[in-house]
């Protein structure tokens, strides 16, 4: 089932086009990452589909329009910063969220348990650290067990421990088969958590699809032998080797996932070459990301 369809969404702020003719389709059950550098239009896009910012042109529809204008009742969202009534406790803040969502028994204690805030259930929100506020925002998004979760930079501003905790929470929720839309500028995060990804820059969609297809699984091999020229000749025609370059008296290869280190070793040995150095590593995602975003 299609959860969200975005058609030609555009938003301008004066001379700046924050989101430029964006098209996206998000299927149910996917963990969809929206990846882009800071200021690329991720939050603006999410603000538009959540109805808090009006679009200049284009349209979007949630759940194939089956809920009419009540769609947000079926979505849980954390957008940018955690926003709560500072003088109220987490329990009372979540009660307001539940009241808006018309959830009769929201199970607030269990939700606070999930985000590790049960021990602070009765202290005022204003006394919370940023990490706790962020976790409460995730808790608010969980109220009413919504069909879709939107998480905008969920680990932003957290310390390493907080980041690990929040990622753990997201993974747990994703494992339950929930659709998650997550905006992030951190590749590593998207790669670890998401099944699909859309990469945007300056409001434009650069690429989208399955994480494996977009952020390719190619690996990099550093290989070296006594006769580098000969080694290069041998490797050039070997299937699975996509590119070869020379660096620091070593050859750097881009290879597909099917190729193993043993095969390379055997190939060299069969051609009378003794390999002095062989390292196989995943291609850096940063490099991939920079490659995709550099061209614009």
């Amino acid at each position: 089932m299609q959860v969200l369809q975005i058609q030609g969404l555009t938003k301008r702020y004066g001379a700046i086009t924050a989101v430029n003719n964006l098209h996206l389709e998000i299927q149910s059950g996917s963990v969809y990452g929206i990846l882009g550098p800071n200021g690329s239009g991720k939050t603006t896009t999410l603000s538009m589909v959540l109805g808090i910012v009006g679009a200049d042109s284009g349209s979007f529809s949630w759940f194939g329009d089956k809920y009419g204008d009540q769609e947000r009742m079926h979505i849980g969202a954390l957008l940018e910063t955690p926003n709560f009534y500072p003088y109220l406790s987490p329990v009372k803040n979540l009660e307001i969220t539940a009241h808006i969502k018309r959830v009769a028994s929201p199970g607030i204690d269990q939700i606070l348990e999930i985000v590790n805030l049960a021990h602070r259930r009765d202290s005022a929100f204003s006394t919370f650290s940023f990490g706790m506020k962020q976790r409460l925002a995730i808790a608010a998004a969980l109220v009413g067990d919504p069909e879709v979760l939107i998480l905008d930079e969920p680990t932003n501003g957290l310390d390493p421990q907080g980041i690990a905790e929040v990622r753990e929470i997201i993974k747990r929720i994703a494992n339950n088969g929930k659709t998650i839309i997550m905006a992030s500028h951190i590749l590593d995060e998207v790669e670890k958590v998401c099944s699909h990804v859309a990469i945007i820059k300056r409001g434009k969609l650069l690429a989208n699809g399955e994480v494996g297809a977009i952020l390719s699984n190619d690996r990099q091999v550093d290989i070296s032998a006594g006769d580098l020229v000969r080694l290069r000749e041998v490797l050039a025609n070997f299937p699975g080797v996509k590119s070869i370059s020379e660096k620091d008296k070593m050859l750097q290869l881009q290879v597909g996932t099917e190729l193993t280190a043993a095969e390379l070793n055997k190939l060299a040995f069969d051609n009378g070459l003794i390999i002095s150095h062989l390292v196989m590593k995943p291609k850096s995602l940063e490099a991939e990301f920079l490659e995709i975003t550099a061209g614009t």
Partner: protein, 271 residues
Amino acid sequence: MLHLLKLEWLKQKDYILFKLLVAAYLIFLPATLFIGKKMQLDVGAPINPAKDFFVFPTIWEWLGYFGNWMGYFVLGFMAVLMVTNEYSNKTLRQNVIAGLQRTDFFKSKLLFMTVVATVATVYYATCALVIGLFHLGDDSLYFSTVFKNIDYVPRFWLMSMGYMSFGLLVGLLTKKTGIALFLYLAYSMVIESILRWVVHLYFFKNITMSLYPLNAMEDLAPLPVAEMANDLLKQHGFRMLLTPMEAALASSFYIALFLYFSYKRLKNSDL
């Protein structure tokens, strides 16, 4: 409807400033009246506070006038805070994200305001009746004397709604508590006076100068001696005090206008 009213109640009931404002209204409204006990005007003034403030039917006027100030400060500030807090805490945005329709957000504010104005009015009427009944003195009690100024009750309600809808609009326009309170006070105390007494009077020297929103609301429960001053002016062919009916019609018009613009503002702005 109750659902939306309860939503606002959940937001307000633990808010310290809300509680303070309620307490201030409940205590100060009757308390100001009792200042009259200490006021000795032996200069041949046409009023005698120690008596007029407390007996029927003038208690309706005097308590109404003190309530005018309380409404202007307490209820107006409450309405301002009701919306500016939602902006500064970004909770309006969060409410909408959670699924609240903007129209429903507006309705919950309007319903709450209506309830507050109604409770404030009932309290005013109760105070007037109770205090009045304790100050019957030796005069025989006539039903008609007690309820002579009973029209002050609906006027008081309309006045409360007026200040609150003005506060709501100012809050929604400025979004910031400090600026909103400043504008609320500056408009009513300075800007409108300049518009009326300098600009308007330059073009039209008649009662239309009193038809400005905050003045019309104030005239719903004016300073009782203002009526005497008005009578004096009338002999010279000029009057500045609106009749209760004029004030009520003008106030209703402005309330509708303020609510309309508040709604428009809320409906269309990016959050």
